[in-house]
Amino acid sequence: MSALSTVEPLTATPSDAERLFGADWASTLSVAHRWMTLGRVYDARMQALQRQGRIGFYGASTGQEAVNVATGLVSRPEDWIFPGLREQLVALVRGYSLTEYTHSIFADALDPAHGRQMPCHPTARGVHHISMSSVIGTQISQAVGLAYGLKLRHDPGVAWAFFGDGATSANDFHAGLNFAAVFGLPVLFGCANNQWAISVPVAHQTASESLAAKGAAYGIPGRQVDGTDFFAVYGALTEALAEIRAGKGPRLLEFLTYRMTPHTSSDDPTRYQPGDWAERGQRHDPYVRLTEWMRLHGLLTPDREAEEQARADTAVREAVAAAEAAPPPAPDTLTEDVYSPHSSAHRGATP
């Protein structure tokens, strides 16, 4: 990482940080930075393994780490996460094991879902992470149903529905926001607007002035936030969550980010992205922006950075080694979990 700034500097002051994170602000930022380092290292490693043919597929979330890490930190254990495409890091910050997650990437026998899903589709019930679907948008109205349960039982907790900019055109975005507002439910709608839906730019997704503006039509306050500014994201989430937890109904946050990788390992963005896209993304790299701010304020020394990097490298190396040592799922798991084990339905057993 170059010492010379190539990014838009973050404008927060240390007193802003103290206001946001409390007296422990320096350690909160260190924790956040450590998770962002892990996310960055993990994405790089997995993309390399995919190119080597060691895993079948990978979808990175590079560029969206500020949103994911802030979500992990602001959310509470009693909350529930309905992920869109790129919120895997949220589960890890909330306590999901990196090793178990990596077993799911390798789709091996130790993947709790028995390798049934493509990589990057984890299920982590222990941290209230709902099983990710590939189908764009469907999780949005599901989060609303879960929030209905929270409200009905007077339980604490918020359902977090994540989705991309592309998903705002899908049926369930409309249905979900509408239902949540009509029933006044505790839902945080988090739109990770990375400005692309594979090759389609957000300007082709909507003629609306922003995605946040769509909230108004449902009676939901919406707000657009710089999703690459960790302070801004954390602040917006804290405010929105306080309102939701106070029973004021759902909130919509649009996090403006830059997709810094191909859509997935199956994509070639040179076919559609403008030549200066990578540079624009780099200028808004959430990880470098936070790193530089922390260097400037004496929270990161070169030694500390090297140590953090080494720690992330080791964690990822160990998780990959464990996954590569695991056998593939047992053949008889193919027909399990189609129905309850107590069910007489035997369809899963055919042919």
């Binding site: 299920t123 099983s131 189908v135 109205s141 049926n171 239902f179 069910s343 899963g348």
Partner: protein
């Protein structure tokens, strides 16, 4: 015991399930204040309140998506889709999400949603209030499909569905909602899934049907009896799980099978039954398997009587099987 119609039996089952378990709730269009357009949810709103008898906005994907989220949290949602014909906005949620949630999560997220919906023709409902598309759902692993034909089964199968750990598509034969009435056991009467109902015994031909096709099938069997043909009638009750054994055993006895459904023929459930019989009862067959089904057309309005199987067309197919043409 109480003498009830099918729709009353459904109402009774919902009522009792909601009384016994505070996690059971009902959601859909017009199910609350109005008691449902067919009155299946009549009285529930008054007794259980707006929080558990939920009038939703008009969005089937919203209804089923919301029901999925409720089930993930441990509630027992019974979603009503006003007509099966209008379920398609929710098809994605049903097929992509509901059916696959348990499997794709390695059993971590069971999703026991019940979706009730009236289906079938014969009510002058035209293209979009008449269809019988149970095969779409039977085709999708992870879903169970129940279709009652009597008031007792309507209550018993619905209570089983509500207690089931898996998602259930519960198809209600709206043509006979009120025309068929009968004794319904009081209390927690449950009819197990995967057990066909032997409606009538006979030695010469097996008539397999379900839902609203049961009355004309029974009528056909009565006509055949007068002609000296003994027709056995089986009511499948659930397509998934399927009581394969009952179908195969009956056809092994009679040697002849007539498969009846009002759904279109192509890829209808009769095709699956015929394949099972070809695989498992082939050497017992004395005649080609016959299907009596709807046409491979959209569902018509003015000509629905021509589209739907009736006692005469069913009896005709059975005579053909027995007498060879």
């Amino acid at each position: 015991m109480s003498e009830l119609t099918i729709v009353q039996a459904i109402n009774r089952a919902l009522h009792e399930a909601m009384q016994h378990d505070p996690n059971v709730l009902v959601l859909g269009e017009d199910v609350g204040v109005n008691g449902g357009v067919f009155r299946a949810t009549e009285g529930l709103f008054k007794e259980f309140g707006a929080d558990r008898v939920i009038d939703t906005p008009l969005s089937e994907t919203g209804i089923v998506g919301t029901a999925i989220g409720m089930a993930l949290y441990g509630l027992k949602p019974v979603a009503e889709i006003q007509f099966l014909d209008f379920i398609y906005p929710a098809f994605d949620q049903i097929v992509s999400e509901l059916a696959k949630m348990r499997y794709r999560s390695g059993g971590q997220y069971p999703c026991p949603v019940v979706i009730r919906t009236p289906y079938g023709g014969g009510i002058r409902g035209g293209l979009y209030h008449s269809q019988s598309t149970e095969a779409y759902f039977a085709h999708t692993a992870g879903l169970k499909v129940a279709i009652p034909s009597t008031p007792a089964d309507a209550k018993g199968l619905l209570l089983t569905a509500i207690h089931d750990e898996d998602p259930v598509i519960f198809l209600e034969p709206k043509r006979i909602y009120r025309s068929v009435s009968g004794e319904v056991p009081d209390g927690d009467h449950r009819v197990p899934f995967g057990k066909a109902r032997p409606v009538r015994a006979g030695d010469d031909v097996t008539l397999v049907a379900y839902g609203a096709m049961i009355p004309p099938t029974v009528e056909a069997a009565e006509m055949l009896e007068k002609e000296g043909i003994g027709a056995e009638v089986l009511d499948l009750r659930t397509l998934v799980p399927l009581d394969e054994e009952a179908v195969v055993r009956s056809v092994e006895k009679t040697g002849r099978a007539v498969l009846v459904h009002e759904a279109a023929r192509c890829c209808g459930f009769g095709g699956e039954l015929a394949a099972i019989l070809a695989e498992k009862a082939f050497y017992s067959l004395k005649a080609p398997i016959a299907r009596v089904t709807g046409y491979d057309t959209p569902f018509p309005y003015a000509l629905e009587h021509a589209y739907l199987p009736n006692a005469e067309t069913i009896a005709h197919a059975a005579r053909g099987a027995v007498r060879g043409g």
